[in-house]
Symmetry: C2
Subunit: 412 residues, 2 copies
């Protein structure tokens, strides 16, 4: 059942052309430069690759693109900067997973804003197995931590990988209890920056026995604003997430919202209404989240959800044997090229390309500082999708709009 | 909205003919005798009244009815016995509410098996106001008791009456917190038998400020088997019940099932899956019960449920001024005759009366020791409803089948 989900083709907006995948360390460097260039978020990255064919060409075009959008002094990420990050990453024992390659976590590739690159230490194949995200409060009660442990211990032997965020409380309990069966830690900062420090030994164990991933540059100290972005990766790698404890306005609730946007199952562990740490969970339950008392409950929800999934039929296109990429020069560089087996269908709405400038409303006028879904903006603009995307892209490049996790946009 | 619910006409099976309502103390005594006669449960009581016109005639026919059903030495309740109960009841300050009179709790009259008579001390008009049943464990945690108090304190000022069972734990907290705004205690034993004893003072306060009711004979010591029957009255008087704490196989869960059968809202307070006292609540929540964190949640559920209620349109029948009943002889006897303003329509299925004995399957063969709904039995019998009801009645009189709360039947 989970296999079907994994075989789904990606939405067109995330499709990386085969020719754009890095086939050499030089091309990998270009990918990293493009990903690290200012204002190039996941959607922009994908769009640039599609428009310019590969990262190198996209980088070359970037200053003009930025200038056209009003950002005159724009320069892409310097090659030395990216090269230093590559070297530091490899030195830390990490490898770079590129969106569109077979090594890249397949579920994560399906979210609206997948990280173009992902540093990984450990066994990336873990992310290809059915995964459950366990999230919850850092200041979890002993009951909450026990619950995380129980769920991890019950789901692990059934073949489920546990994803969490290496934080205190629920995350720590979840990782510890799933070390033997398979655990994935998604870090908010650099993959080599362990936070909190007391989890250094756990981080090391996960690097050896499990998988640690991060989209942040090597060496990045985690900051508050990184956490929501990180949480979209936890839910994006998972079939569903379980919120174990969480206050009403906690990060766990943001994760739950992201998970919903990503079409993932949202589940929660109930708690007494008199316990503030259960407020968020009870709110989710009232809103229809699955009520979780045990690992069996989680599996039941995931299985019934999977039965509802209609795999998108991929057209049967026989493809020629792929050219073998030259082996990476760096001893730790394991990137092998690849492509998704299922080319995405071209959506009907993308056709046309009729000039609509006369009808074009001011896209910015439709936006406020409160994020709205990109889809909604495009629909409300009344513009053909490609035109609207182009305008959004320009505004993003000009630093006038901000892209949030879950395909949300707001005024900057 | 709640008024509409209260104006609904009763199902035909519960309809008491106007002529059968007690108009004198003699007739009241006959009602009590009929209700106290062996094997005359609520359904049998109503059926006998309908068939024989009044309680006196039903009592006269009872021995033959029993003999025809194979119970040869059957004798109805002795008049002295009933008279002693009446006197004891009045002496205890109680009054007798008869099904079909305006004083009788209107919601309770709508359940499949309403008590034909109900002893009451206090203000019976409380039972005419929107009521919420709060139920839960006797060994409730302090959190559970606090929750009961909070819900009662939040619902009372909004006009809701709190019904509960005067037990330890949740019940006690619920009554105490709603003394000022309106509380109804439904006892499993006699209305004058306080259990647990430490609630004597609370019982006295409720008698003075609220309402205490019981269907059991005066002086009855409560026994385990009385509690499920009592619980059907708590839910029957209520628009909905809230289970505050309850183990997986607790009486609270039986109450919840009864409430569902009665078409009442079932709500539950969540708790940690690691707390055994929350097991029942979480089970109910998983099965779709409303999740309650506060009085506001309860009101929201009740209001949206009430919006779904389509009041049964009562035919506009102008009725002549009712004959005034002779004042009861006993100083405490307050029974005034009355009738529902909405005569129930005669259901199509009750017509016919064609002899179906040749087709009659063995009704007993359709039954086992596991209770099934009477409706199901009638449908599965393939018999015309009146014929099936007659056969069920005979089996009941012969002591071969047992009637359970919620209109359920099983082999005795």
């Amino acid at each position: 059942m989970h296999k079907e989900l994994m075989n789904q083709s990606t939405p067109h907006s995330q499709k990386i052309p085969q020719s754009a995948l890095p086939q050499s360390e030089g091309e990998l460097l270009a990918w990293l430069r493009l990903a690290r260039s200012r204002r190039v978020g996941p959607s922009t990255f994908i769009r640039l690759l599609r428009e310019h064919g590969n990262a190198e060409a996209a980088l070359a075009a970037l200053p003009q693109v930025a200038a056209a959008a009003g950002a005159n002094s724009y320069a892409p990420c310097h090659p030395e900067h990216a090269n230093a990050e590559l070297e530091a990453g490899f030195k830390a024992g990490a490898e770079l997973l590129c969106l569109g390659t077979p090594e890249y976590p397949p579920h994560l590739a399906l979210i609206p804003d997948p990280p173009p690159i992902l540093w990984a230490i450990g066994d990336p194949s873990l992310a290809h197995r059915p995964t459950v995200g366990l999230v919850g409060a850092r200041n979890a009660s002993s009951l909450g931590q026990r619950m995380a442990r129980i769920l991890a211990e019950e789901l692990g032997p059934e073949g489920y990988i546990i994803a969490s965020g290496l934080a205190r409380g629920v995350d720590t309990a979840a990782h510890e209890a799933s070390l033997e069966t398979g655990t994935i830690a998604v870090l908010a900062g650099g993959i080599d920056v362990v936070y909190p420090r007391e989890n250094k030994a756990l981080w090391q164990q996960i690097c050896q026995q499990g998988l640690v991933v991060s989209e942040a540059p090597i060496g990045t100290a985690p900051q508050a604003r990184h956490f929501p972005k990180r949480n979209r990766i936890i839910s994006g790698m998972s079939l569903g997430i379980v919120v174990i404890e969480g206050a009403a306005k906690s990060g766990s609730l943001i994760t739950a919202r992201n998970a919903l946007d990503q079409g993932r199952e949202v589940m929660a562990v109930p708690g007494s209404p008199l316990d503030p740490r259960a407020t968020g969970c009870n709110m989710l339950l009232r809103d229809g989240a699955g009520l979780v008392r045990s690992g069996a409950d989680v599996m039941e929800y995931l299985q019934s959800a999977a039965q509802g999934v209609l795999p998108i039929e991929a057209p049967e296109i026989p493809h020629p044997p792929l050219p073998q990429a030259p082996p990476p020069q760096h001893p730790r560089g394991k990137q092998s090229p690849g492509l998704f087996s299922c080319p995405a269908p071209t959506p009907a709405s993308e056709g046309g390309g009729r000039p609509a400038t006369t009808l074009a409303p001011n896209l910015k006028a439709l936006l406020s500082t409160a994020p709205i879904p990109e889809d909604t903006l495009i629909r409300e603009s009344g513009l053909p999708t490609p035109k609207a995307m182009e305008m959004i892209f320009d505004l993003e490049m000009a630093g006038e709009i901000t892209r949030h996790p879950g395909g949300m946009l707001s005024l900057a």
